[in-house]
Amino acid sequence: MKEYVLYTGCTTPVRLPSYEASVKAVLEKLGISIVEMADANCCGAQYVESTSHKAFLAMSGRILAIAEKMGLDILAICGACSGSLKTVKHELDHDEELRKEVNDLLKEEGLEYTGKIQVKHLLQIFNEDIGYDAIKSAVIRPYHGVRLAAHYGCHVTRPYEIVQVDDPQNPTIIDHIIELAGGTAVDYTGKTRCCGGPMLAMDEGVATKIGLDKIRNVREAKADGIVTACVFCDIQLTSVQFDESVESSERIPVLTLPQFLGKAIGIDEDSLGIEFNKISPNGIMEV
């Protein structure tokens, strides 16, 4: 059984614990073992990253070093975290001087990063470790007649040279899993565009317009729901639909990929945290 250490990031445990719970439930059922990372820190994405590149290397570098001490590859479930950890790994693996600077800072804790471990985003675990055949055979309660729009998350799939998850222009992993679970994956305008989440700190109004642009495109494709693979995207695409411009009856449920798949492989809704979803996905789940 392949084992990973889960790096939850800051946001999932507080803002979307159902994502954490459903990741664990689904991966366990599909034969992947997960252990938690103790004494972690923020990966430094966006804020530290923008103000001191070396501090950013040290923050993500420490997470890589903890995993290396545990002897386990990292599973990241947030787009920002997986992007940061992979970017920093790439840089430290290719620059001895920077690696030495980070390791000097880590020395007093008995940590060292030498490049031994890998970082994978959740989508890679499904595609590379579990595989579509195993997912297909695990589906015991397929969906019927539901149309789902996949949203991948910019930092999950770009830049491809570093993250190596899926085709950045035409990603297919979520769509494939939607189909394996019995749903219909729908294409829509601007599928690989951003959810607007990274704009929240600087301009919430613009962030909301960008998010609603995507919601409009998903609605035009007549999707019953949106399936995500990043905590920020999930929260952003949900919360923009509580803008006063959106009628409550028009809201489109947003599900994380493990919530959506979990139901089809026979995991109960409580374990997937469905009741915590702010837009009820019952219309999808009960089909």
């Binding site: 923008s50 001191s52 910019c154 565009r193 704009m199 945290g273």
Partner: protein
């Protein structure tokens, strides 16, 4: 001969020497970045092509004091489409880091950096009893275990006198 047609400036050279900014002189100002940008779609004052042009023309103070380079979401849609292999996200990271060293950090970024370096993570103040209950109900550990000693040390090392 090619060099004769490449606009450049001291500021563009400064950016190109930064590890994140080396691609700047490859920009041919075609504008596919602005055309691809969701921020530009909804914020008229934000035009990535124009910002790159200002760097190429050497408008150092104007660019470093502006909030515009901080509006890039780093979604990298433009970079996916750029035919010259220019990464706007990386160039603006270089601009931000130089601006930060000179004391120009937008408040939203400044506050969040302070929080992360103090608490070790982003959401300590948002972690309520209610969320704890939710976690317990989901069978998750309610005790979140974050390290703040290391980020505090990084503040000493990398963020003294503004930032280093």
């Amino acid at each position: 001969m090619k060099e004769a047609y490449t606009p450049t400036s001291d500021f563009a050279e400064e950016i190109s020497r930064h590890p994140s900014g080396e691609g700047i002189n490859k920009c041919v100002q075609c504008g596919i970045c602005t055309a691809s940008c969701m921020v530009a779609t909804y914020e008229n004052k934000y035009r990535p092509r124009k910002l790159i042009q200002k760097i190429l023309l050497g408008a150092r103070e104007e660019v470093l004091k502006s909030e515009l380079p901080w509006l890039c979401m780093t979604c990298r849609m433009c970079e996916e489409r750029c035919q010259e292999d220019v990464s706007i996200a990386e160039i603006f990271h270089a601009v931000r880091e130089i601006a930060a060293k000179e004391g120009h950090i937008p408040n939203a970024f400044k506050k969040t950096v302070e929080t992360v370096l103090k608490d070790g993570w982003l959401l300590k103040d948002s972690y309520s009893d209610m969320t704890m209950d939710d976690r317990e109900e989901l069978g998750l550990n309610p005790e979140l275990d974050w390290n703040n000693a290391f980020p505090k040390k990084l503040k000493e090392v990398y963020y003294q006198e503004g930032t280093k």
